[in-house]
């Protein structure tokens, strides 16, 4: 080697970015892995909506609305309806409550539902015909959900409804001031447009006949029969079932209830009945409930709305007797376990009508004399996975079967029944619902979410409040709906905030482009965990390297 000709830079200088030759990934003992976890909203949604997904599409604004709606109706064909009447357990579960307050999921759902109706968006076209025919008995939320999903799967579906109009409890149990009839009708019509045949005033009276005509039958007759309690009552007493009143009102036959109405019960039906009584001319509507506010089964917003309309509630009270317009009330007290007991102390209440809203029973008349369909606890017993009754090819969902008696639950079970029927028709085994890992609040890094301008949030809250009152009839406008959707933290699912990409000290995250998310460059990732710690939505796990 000639020193004069040797590069003067040996050991001193080198080319740029030559460090790429050194793979620091060998330093790693833990590796970051992108995960997709179930958000609490979806886990809490009985309808099984991909809430995070459709909120995500909504976030994109106008351009994303239809995609959002399509993601929504994949699980629930009634977004406009449910956007009004759902008690939104999703929001109770929402992790954002830990940051400020939960995302107004229900309001956005209604916005999407209304937007779809306004734009006339059609439900997806069904799959190719399977050649199989399925009967759905009853056209409530469970029935129509099952019918919709079965039709989507390519089956010919007929819905038979005993009542004159379809909708079940959505039509006959929920007053129009909460759910305008044209909204319900439009969403049902849209299901019919996919090819579902709905035959009203057509009670099904024989399961054998039905099975002879159809390849499978789904029972969704609901629980429209009022439960009765024994109350000593005089002949002149005017005692009616609340559910009948609601049904009559819905059918256009408003009954006379008088000036003073007492409603016995503490559920949502009791609230609807009391509010309906007010609308039927009662100046004094009193809810008599055995327990306390905290124990009341009615949704708190329902109670608030009722009280807001002048309904009074007598807590810790039972109706002991009714004699003409005179109602005898016994005061109750709670024991240590929270059960009410009579105190022997009585008072009187004047009521022209007493409405009983102490619960509803399943309509099981079809099953009389069908021994292989078991009834337990007043409902049809089903296999918990397949929802099939004791009789082959006969399934049940909704209020007639076990479980929560809410529309959202009914929609979810209807859809589940549809998948079960589809599997059964194809002689497939329906897998159990997968157990999903939850994106719990402690996985999140909330710091990144609280940058919303405060005045914007205040405006939004005001806009959201009025959505509870059908009287006002104001939903979110597009701007507010988008803003609200953007409050979604996308728990457990990467939403491409770029934190991992930007905050990697080792430049070891590749950004793959819009919608493509990221990829860890394991050649260089040292496994420090900053990406996981700073991921706002908890979508990165650090897992031990196994070498």
């Amino acid at each position: 080697m000639n020193g004069h000709d040797a590069p003067p830079t040996i050991g001193l200088s080198t080319g740029p970015a030559t460090s790429l030759a050194y793979h620091t990934g060998t330093w790693r003992t833990e590796r970051p892995v992108y995960v997709e976890l179930a958000p609490p909203c979806s886990l809490g949604c009985p309808s099984g909506e991909d809430i995070r997904g459709w909120l995500g599409s909504t976030q994109e604004g106008e351009a994303g609305f239809e995609a959002a709606w399509r993601r929504l109706v994949a699980a629930n064909p009634f977004p406009a309806v449910m956007g009004r009447i759902c008690y939104h357990p999703c929001q109770e579960a929402c992790n954002r409550a830990e940051v400020d307050e939960e995302v107004g999921i229900n309001a956005v759902e209604r916005f999407l539902g209304d937007t779809a109706l306004e734009k006339g968006w059609a439900l997806p076209a069904p799959a190719a015909s399977s050649g199989r025919r399925v009967l759905v008995v009853g056209s409530g939320p469970a029935g129509l959900s099952a019918a919709y999903q079965l039709r989507q799967l390519g089956h010919a579906v007929t819905v038979r409804e005993a009542a004159a109009e379809p909708g079940g409890m959505m039509r006959y149990g929920i007053p129009a001031y909460r759910l305008p009839r044209e909204v319900l009708a439009a969403e049902i019509r849209r299901i019919e447009d996919t090819g579902v045949a709905i035959e009203c005033s057509t009670p099904v009276t024989s399961l054998d006949d039905a099975q002879a005509e159809f390849d499978a039958v789904v029972l969704t007759m609901g629980a429209g029969v009022a439960h009765h309690v024994d109350i000593p009552a005089g002949a002149a007493s005017h005692i009616v079932d609340a559910i009948d009143v609601l049904r009559d009102v819905a059918a256009g036959n408003a009954p006379l209830v008088g000036r003073r109405v007492a409603v016995y019960g503490g559920g949502n039906t009791a609230m609807d009945a009391a509010r309906t009584a007010r609308r039927l001319g009662a100046s004094d509507a009193v809810v008599v409930y055995r327990r306390t506010r905290e124990q009341m089964p009615a949704h708190p917003t329902e109670l608030d709305d009722a009280v807001g309309e002048g309904v009074r509630v007598q807590w810790l009270s039972t109706i002991a007797a009714v004699e003409g317009p005179r109602v005898t009330i016994e005061k109750m007290s709670l024991d240590e376990e929270g059960r009410p007991h009579g105190t022997g102390e009585f008072e009187e209440l004047d009521a022209d009508t007493v409405m009983l809203a102490v619960g509803q029973d399943a309509d099981l008349s079809l099953l009389a004399g069908v021994p292989d369909v078991t009834v337990a606890d007043g409902v049809v017993a089903v296999d918990p996975v397949t929802l099939m009754t004791g009789r082959d090819g006969v399934f049940a969902a909704g209020d007639v079967s076990p479980g929560s008696r809410t529309a959202t639950y009914a929609i979810g079970r209807g859809a589940r029944a549809a998948r079960a029927v589809d599997a059964w028709l194809a002689a497939r085994v329906l897998p159990a619902e997968p157990v999903q890992r939850e994106a719990s609040a402690e996985r999140l890094n909330a710091w990144y979410y609280s940058d919303a301008p405060k005045q914007h949030r205040a405006e939004l809250a005001a806009a959201r409040r009025v959505t509870g009152f059908e009287e006002v009839l104001t939903g979110l406008d597009a701007e507010h709906a988008v803003f609200e959707a953007r409050r979604c933290m996308s728990c457990g699912s990467c939403f491409e905030c770029d934190n991992c990409f930007g905050m990697c000290p080792d430049d070891a995250i590749k950004k793959l482009g819009p919608g493509m998310r990221y990829e860890v460059d394991y050649d260089y990732c040292k496994g420090c965990g900053i990406c996981a710690a700073e991921c706002p939505c908890g979508a990165i796990d650090m897992i031990p390297e196994v070498r």
């Binding site: 080697m1 000639n2 020193g3 004069h4 040797a6 590069p7 003067p8 830079t9 040996i10 050991g11 001193l12 200088s13 080198t14 080319g15 740029p16 030559t18």
Partner: protein, 409 residues
């Protein structure tokens, strides 16, 4: 044009004619007149396209020079003594990075005790810093050496110190002939660094070298340093051709009779007493020694022009086997002897020369002609010890007699 000039002015003007891009310095005696002059020229525009940077320390002066040189500009600085030591870390660094900075060292003693006068302790302390060290015998050579220093340093990509005796040269006024701007432009190639901080060709300069590459890095630097001797000699030769006068080179030879400097002077003979020296004492030796020849003392004189790289081969050639060698040394290696003597001894290892070390002129002690003659006489008589201190005041420090000492207080 022959003119009367202070050494510092001569150096400053010559440096300016080498067209440095950046001059950066921190004042320290006896370097000040050089940088004062350069700062003035930068202000007046006489030194065009040049940034003169005032800094807060010698360490920063060298660091600014490093940055400037790495960015592709010809960089110059000047210092002395404590200032050289204060910048020492950066001095080594500049050499390690191969940045051909040129620095004037106005040689001065190192404290304590603090002493502002001339000797070679400062530059000697940094003899292994990886810089070329070129020593000026007089102010003419001090000026000329800067042109050679830029040329050699840039060809080698090794920085160069031009060492000139503080005060004795820097503050002395002589009749000089400076290279003109046109002459320098014709002589000195444009600075074209092989590596620089270039946005169009980005490089990383100043990496860390681990045990697996450090030895090789140093070995290559060593090979380049070996090449340096030839490059220095070649530039001196070119200078002689271009300007018609002696400057630079590895060693300076002097004629046998009048002790006039001449590259053509014959080597010494075995029987000669040869005095080896470096810096301005060579002039005093030129003046002092001819009288000895009249006395019959066969004295010869050899100057060291390049201390780093040390010109062992050229020195042996000039000595021609001279048996008695006297090194007039301007720096002391405590417990050992003259610093230059060590290098001479290593160069003459295995020869039959006997090397005497005479430590002279520490801290500005005037080197008197008669004292030098005495040393040579005694060497010739075989009475000179291996190590002696010129004009050492045995038994303490008496009050010096007026006029013969530095008593200018």
């Amino acid at each position: 044009m022959r003119e009367v000039l202070e050494g510092s002015q001569a150096v400053a003007r010559t440096v300016a004619r080498c067209r440095p891009g950046v001059v950066c310095a921190y004042p320290i005696s006896p370097q000040t007149h050089i940088v004062e002059a350069l700062s003035a020229m930068a202000r007046t525009g006489e030194l065009a396209d040049c940034e003169y940077v005032n800094v807060e320390s010698e360490f920063s002066a060298m660091s600014v020079s490093i940055g400037a040189s790495a960015a592709g500009s010809r960089a110059y600085t000047a210092t002395a003594s404590q200032g050289l030591l204060y910048m020492a870390e950066a001095v080594f660094n500049a050499a390690g990075m191969g940045l051909p900075i040129v620095m004037t060292v106005a040689n001065r003693a190192i404290g304590a005790p603090i002493n502002i006068w001339n000797d070679h302790s400062d530059a000697m302390a940094l003899r292994d810093s990886g810089w070329l060290q070129l020593y000026a015998a007089d102010n003419q050579e001090a000026a000329d050496l800067h042109v050679i220093a830029f040329a050699a340093a840039e060809e080698l990509e090794i920085p160069a110190m031009v060492c000139m005796d503080g005060f004795v040269l820097t503050h002395a006024t002589d009749v000089l002939e400076l290279p003109t701007a046109a002459q320098v432009d014709a002589f000195l190639p444009t600075y074209a660094p092989r590596q620089a901080l270039d946005i169009d060709h980005p490089t990383t300069i100043g990496t860390m070298a681990g045990p697996e590459s450090f030895t090789e890095t140093k070995y290559l630097q060593h090979l380049r340093f070996l090449d340096a001797a030839g490059v220095i000699a070649a530039w001196s030769e070119r200078f002689h051709e271009a300007f018609g006068r002696e400057a630079g080179g590895l060693v300076s030879r002097y004629t046998a009779d009048a002790l006039e400097r001449s590259r053509d002077a014959a080597p010494a003979d075995e029987g000669d007493v040869t005095v080896i020296a470096m810096g301005s004492v060579l002039g005093t030796l030129q003046a002092a020694l001819p009288a000895l020849r009249a006395e019959g003392v066969p004295v010869r004189l050899v100057g060291i022009g390049s201390y780093r790289p040390f010109p062992a081969e050229a020195l042996r050639d000039a000595l021609g086997g001279s048996r008695t060698v006297v090194v007039i040394d301007r720096a002391l290696e405590l417990g050992s002897g003259g610093v230059l003597t060590g290098d001479v001894g290593r160069a003459l290892a295995g020869t039959r020369s006997r090397v005497h070390s005479v430590v002279a002129g520490l801290g500005g002690r005037p080197i008197l002609e008669e004292s030098l003659r005495g040393v040579v006489r005694r060497a010739h008589a075989g009475e000179l010890g291996a190590l002696e201190f010129l004009d050492l005041k045995e038994g303490g420090v008496p009050v010096p007699h007026a006029g013969a000492t530095e008593v200018h207080r």
